[in-house]
């Protein structure tokens, strides 16, 4: 009798455990299947979503993706009467979990996703069950710009200086992540200038900024948003932005583009909206129209300003062509 008691108790414990797991599973399933949407009943051109929208974000609350997701959702909500929505976070696997989940929402018209450069880069680095061509591109709304920064005390004063320096010794360049735009720009720059940097890989922009202030690296390639405070204070010096045009105003405005300095390297982290595979045409048009209208509003200006992003609106075939070009470019740089 007594010897049996412990195992009974263990079993009781396990039973609790399993019941709890099952309880959560059923919650989860309910949450996912929700109201299925996607019934394209109306065939008129002025289609509007019925019921609440779901904006999927593959990264957590508070990050850059969350910010653009909320901004775009707010823009879409302004677009027609009674349109509301929520941001749903599907995190994990460097974004793969979110994209995989979104691919399963075949044909739905009330599901949209805030997307960025990882849509094209992820499948090149990781075994993903998807490529960008699985989804329905709706519109690109902005570009986050990458800039090149050196410590304030560095003798390097231009992109050409850095390239010359790299011909004589190993120059260390801090980047965030191997698969991010920073590292792709490093590859493009090396290819153009016929040099090779030693890249030091960090996890986020805060770490690269600390590396600049502590003189741990010769230069940093990173998002302008992370570094602008240092540039303004004169604790770091920006040498180039890798965009088609300079910033219009603010502390980054005097910084020349790489193209101006004779290096044809432009690559940015685009931000935009995609739909699930097979999203009905009228829904795509509705969302793209909404976002196009949104780019005319002060809310859009405010988004660009607080994110230090540059305007870059594209829709339809233009956006698809952009994605195809970007993928080709990355393949070339990475040799994949």
């Amino acid at each position: 009798m007594t010897t049996h008691r412990p195992s009974l108790r263990l079993r009781a414990g396990m039973a609790f455990l399993l019941t709890s797991v099952l309880a959560i599973t059923s919650c989860g399933v309910e949450g996912i299947s929700g109201d299925g949407g996607g019934d394209d009943a109306s065939e008129s051109s002025d289609w509007t979503p019925q019921g609440p929208l779901t904006m999927v974000a593959a990264f957590g609350a508070g990050g850059g993706t969350d910010k653009v997701a909320r901004a775009m959702l707010a823009g879409i909500e302004q677009c027609a009467d009674g349109v509301t929505g929520n941001v749903e976070y599907r995190e994990g696997g460097s974004g793969v979990v979110g994209y995989t989940y979104f691919m399963q929402q075949q044909g739905k018209s009330d599901m949209i996703m805030a997307s960025t450069t990882e849509l094209t880069t992820l499948p090149l680095f990781v075994d993903t069950p998807f490529t960008w061509e699985n989804y329905t591109p709706i519109a690109r709304i902005a570009n986050d710009t990458v800039s090149l920064v050196v410590p304030a005390a560095s003798p390097i004063t231009s992109l050409q200086d850095l390239v010359d320096e790299a011909k004589t010794r190993k120059v260390t360049v801090g980047v965030v992540g191997v698969s991010g735009p920073d590292n792709i720009i490093r590859g493009l720059l090396e290819e153009q200038a016929g040099i090779e940097f030693e890249s030091v890989v960090f996890n986020n922009g805060g770490e690269t900024t600390a590396a600049i202030l502590g003189n741990d690296v010769d230069a940093v390639l990173g998002g302008a948003g992370d570094i602008v405070g240092q540039v303004e204070a004169g604790t770091a010096r920006a040498l180039a932005v890798f965009a088609e045009e300079r910033y219009q105003d603010g502390p980054m405005a005097p910084v020349p583009t790489a193209v101006e300095q004779g290096f044809d390297v432009t690559f940015g982290q685009w931000r935009g909206l995609i739909g699930p595979p097979g999203m009905p045409e009228e829904a795509v048009t509705f969302y793209a129209d909404c976002l196009e209208q949104w780019t005319e509003t002060p809310a859009y200006e405010e988004y660009l300003e607080t994110s230090l992003a540059l305007p870059a609106f594209q829709r339809g075939d233009d956006f698809e062509q952009y994605l195809a070009d970007q993928e080709a470019l990355i393949r070339e740089v990475l040799g994949r």
Partner: protein, 504 residues
């Protein structure tokens, strides 16, 4: 007294009725969020940020910061009562805090945690206000090579957690943690490791579900197996701190405050490491080494002081340089931007009212938290009078819900279940689970900083020779490993060898 003007101005801002109210809302919400396993301070701040958009920037930031340090108080409560850490930085409080609770001393554990947090919180605000730029300078000197040194010191701490055969078991568990941490997509090399083609583990094994499984659920399982312990029947009076408790806690709180603040200022290190390192230090200097892990109040007081001091430390690089000192301050920097305030070295010059008001509010918030937590300690502790048949299912569902909520996916709950099964057998065969957590946190940091150091020196580790701080830290870890053995050899069998090290 011109130098004090901004401080006085700051307190005027923080003590306005409006800001006081939102500070209170922040700290109360923080306590609740900290209490719930899986919901950490970073998530809490991120989720509430949009709700504060209608407020004045300073008010919003006061509330969000209040939420941040409120979670450090709240996280302790679930660590102590049910061995389910609500926050990563309160994992350490389960070691002795939970044991104290098992002995009917939950009230004391919670009270000393509140006092330690308060003392550390308020003392380090003075440091933050007076010396932030100085500390920020030191923090920036901590590059990847120095981080390697610091992480090695932390890992060597595993050895300090136990002795003899237990030490070997501890090392094995630390290695297990490091091994588990290698799973997933490696951002350094873009290589997938041990994923077996599964999308779920691409992002690595998250640390929170493992903690929940290993500590909370495994504990419930082994309790369910053991002879049923009686619910704690302490009288209300027995839940109050004694003079001896306070006396024993004084020095640990002091050490925890200093260590926590300093480690907190380093970007990337933070409250969790601070709490582990402080625990290790306390165990080393204590006269009652054998009591550690069995309900030593020093093991609660020191780390609790450290994790709160680290929160203020994390604000040093955040406010003076615009570099986040922790995950949560990174989210807070995002909030600055939402209000159109550009964080960076000029922040204190451009927005003095905001910065000083915010710092003064930390003081106010800590007072509020002490008022809130100290009288509540015995009340929370009374929760343990609830019958286990009722309490355990609640703990289990709260734990699994927390593991799920971390990333909104079932995977987290399954990781917690897996960790619980492992944890159950570890407990049964007397393997310490704490080093697994340490390995899980420190493993990736070691790998990353070692990689970066190697790149910085183009593959030549001679770079360490040019970095005095890194060298000193590496030397320190060697000393930590060897000195106790050498001292013991020299002293022979005579005891009291360690007594020399104490009483500073």
């Amino acid at each position: 007294m011109d130098a004090l003007d901004p401080v006085i101005g700051g307190f005027q801002t923080a003590l306005s009725l409006h800001n006081l109210l939102f500070c209170a809302v922040g700290v109360i919400l923080g306590t609740v969020i900290g209490l719930l396993p899986g919901l950490g301070s970073a998530t809490g701040v991120a989720l509430l940020m949009p709700l504060t958009l209608g407020l004045e920037p300073v008010t919003a930031l006061i509330m969000l910061a209040g939420l941040y340090y409120g979670t450090q108080y709240g996280g302790t409560i679930s660590s102590v009562l049910v061995s389910s850490p609500g926050e990563a930085s309160t994992v350490v409080s389960t070691f002795d805090g939970y044991q104290m609770a098992r002995q009917g001393r939950a009230g004391q554990a919670l009270a000393i945690a509140a006092i330690a947090s308060f003392v550390a919180g308020t003392l380090t605000i003075v440091l933050l206000m007076a010396l932030a730029p100085v500390f920020a300078g030191i923090a920036v000197d901590f590059g990847p090579p120095e981080m390697v040194g610091l992480v090695v010191v932390g890992l060597v701490g595993v050895v300090g957690l136990s002795r003899g055969i237990q030490m070997l078991k501890g090392l094995a568990m630390g290695a297990l943690g490091v091994a588990v941490a290698t799973i997933g997509f490696d951002p350094q090399t873009a290589v997938q490791r041990f994923t077996f083609g599964s999308v779920e583990v691409l992002g690595g094994i998250q640390f929170v579900p493992v903690v929940i499984g290993l500590f909370a659920i495994a504990e419930v399982m082994s309790q369910a197996r053991a002879t049923p312990a009686d619910p704690i029947r302490a009288r209300f009076r027995d839940l109050l701190l004694t003079r001896d408790d306070l006396h024993r806690s004084r020095a640990p709180i002091g050490r925890g405050t200093v260590l926590g603040f300093f480690l907190g200022t380093l970007p990337g290190a933070g409250a969790t490491i601070a709490s582990f390192v402080t625990y290790d230090v306390e165990k080393r200097v204590s006269k009652r080494k054998h009591e550690f892990g069995k309900g030593a109040i020093e093991g609660v007081a020191g780390p609790e002081a450290a994790n709160n001091a680290a929160v203020n430390g994390a604000f040093v690089p955040t406010l003076t340089l615009g570099i986040p000192g922790s995950g949560t301050t990174a989210v807070l920097l995002g909030a600055f931007l939402l209000f159109g305030i550009q964080p960076g070295p000029l922040l204190m010059d451009k927005e003095p009212d905001l910065v000083w008001g915010l710092m003064a509010s930390f003081y106010v918030g800590n007072v509020l938290l002490l008022i809130l937590n100290l009288p509540m300690a015995p009340i929370f502790a009374s929760m343990l009078r609830v019958r286990y048949a009722v309490l355990y299912p609640v703990i289990l569902s709260a734990s699994l819900l927390g593991a799920y909520a971390l990333e909104n996916r079932m995977w987290g709950a399954w990781v917690a279940v897996g960790a619980a099964l492992v944890g159950y057998f570890l407990k049964r065969y007397d393997f310490p689970p704490a080093p697994v957590i340490l390995g899980l946190i420190l493993g990736p940091m070691l790998e990353q900083s070692l990689n970066q150091t190697s790149s910085m020196g183009s593959g030549d580790f001679g770079i360490f020779l040019h970095r005095p701080i890194a060298l000193a830290l590496l030397a320190l870890s060697v000393a930590i490993l060897l000195v106790p053995t050498i001292v013991a050899r020299l002293r022979g069998p005579r005891s009291g060898a360690e007594r020399q090290l104490i009483d500073d």
